[in-house]
């Protein structure tokens, strides 16, 4: 499922504020740059508001954001809906005891980590990132939360790349 509210006038404005940078980080990739959206306070606010409206009455107690652009959108959502924010980070960035989840990249593997104790069993969680491509990173994020006993209610992203085959464990994503 994508575009929670296609008819919402705010969506068109959000799309128009995302800059496409060709051939970054390598030839052939059309990079979706959200930093230009962050330069427009009204549009940035609309982006956060759209997510807050969707999640505020769903009893979500955890918003997990994926390093690093998930750290930009996740905390404002968490604050607005009364949830805690949990950063999911690249290896060796988190100082305390962590659990790790490996995932596959186009070439090679990477790893996502979460602090032990950040999330408690049966907490309802939302995962936030700026963009979903294959869903590999989001799957790693969901696995971390589920290993801690949380229930992943949904994954929320600003941008979905339509041409890539998405393979998600969870039923829902926005």
């Amino acid at each position: 499922m994508s575009a929670c509210c296609n008819d919402d006038p705010r969506i068109h404005d959000i799309k128009s504020k995302i800059r496409v940078v060709p051939n970054f980080p390598k030839p052939g990739i059309m990079f979706q740059d959200i930093t230009t959206l962050l330069l427009d306070p009204k549009t940035f606010k609309n982006t956060v508001d759209l997510f807050v409206e969707r999640y505020k009455n769903k009893n979500i107690s955890v918003v997990a954001g994926i390093e690093a652009r998930g750290f930009i959108f996740g905390p404002p959502i968490a604050l607005a809906i009364g949830a805690k924010f949990v950063p999911l980070r690249k290896p060796r960035k988190l100082p305390g005891e962590v659990i790790s989840e490996e995932y596959t990249l186009e070439y090679g593997r990477d790893c996502l980590e979460m602090h032990i104790g950040a999330v408690e069993p049966d907490e309802r969680a939302l995962v936030v990132d700026d963009l979903i491509a294959t869903g590999g990173t989001l799957c790693a994020a969901m696995n971390l939360l589920e290993r801690a006993g949380a229930e992943v209610v949904e994954c929320a992203c600003l941008i979905e790349l339509p041409d890539l085959k998405v393979n998600l464990l969870s039923q829902n994503f926005t």
Binding site: T35, L38, P41, P75, K84, V86
Partner: protein
């Protein structure tokens, strides 16, 4: 300057914020008492109070830009920017920003690192605040100030949740006003 020295003396929010920060000894290496703000982010009230204190300070100062230093500055900066109607600019490690950038090198204890900002993100004359979770030597903040000033923005203040107590009594860091909420804690203070 520390918030407690500037209008917030005895504010119970500051004590709660301080106590919500976890100290991890010997990370990333021996001898360093790492100030872990992830536990602050797990405490909704303390996290909200942190943001609110900065928002209350900056909302009437005509600030149009909040610049956050990767990656923990990203956890605080955007919420402040949204509340005061400012834009948010991420200052990032090399090779992360996709568009045309300017770069500023700065010194680490061993070696150098580099901070980058998108060209065109900030306009000349814009009043800016730089935000990070912690200030130690001020090297990273200085690099951030340089990037903004090279684009002819005005850095009004640097804001950090945690600042070393060497900075107590000092109002400025490298010529720029500095605003800090709490000092680092020792391991014995941990609850």
């Amino acid at each position: 300057m520390f918030a407690a020295e500037n209008g917030l003396k005895g504010d119970p929010r500051l004590q709660a914020i301080s106590q919500a920060i976890r100290v991890i000894p010997h990370f990333p290496k021996q001898g360093i008492m790492f100030q872990d703000i992830t536990t602050l982010l797990l405490n909704h009230k303390a996290f909200k109070d942190t943001v609110d204190i900065f928002v209350d300070r900056y909302r009437d100062m005509g600030i149009s830009v909040v610049a956050g230093i990767e990656a923990r500055g990203f956890m605080f900066g955007p919420s402040i920017a949204l509340a005061i109607g400012a834009k948010f600019i991420p200052l990032r490690k090399p090779g992360k920003l996709p568009g045309e950038v300017i770069s500023q090198a700065y010194e680490l204890e061993y070696g150098t690192d580099c901070l980058e900002m998108h060209v065109g993100a900030v306009l000349p004359g814009e009043r800016t605040v730089v935000i990070d979770d912690l200030v130690a030597t001020g090297g990273t903040l200085s690099a951030a100030i340089n990037l903004l000033e090279r684009m002819e923005a005005e850095v009004v203040e640097c804001a950090c949740v945690i600042g070393l107590s060497d900075l107590k009594g000092k109002r400025k860091l490298h010529g720029k006003p500095l605003y800090i909420l709490v000092e680092p804690r020792e391991i014995e203070d941990c609850c």
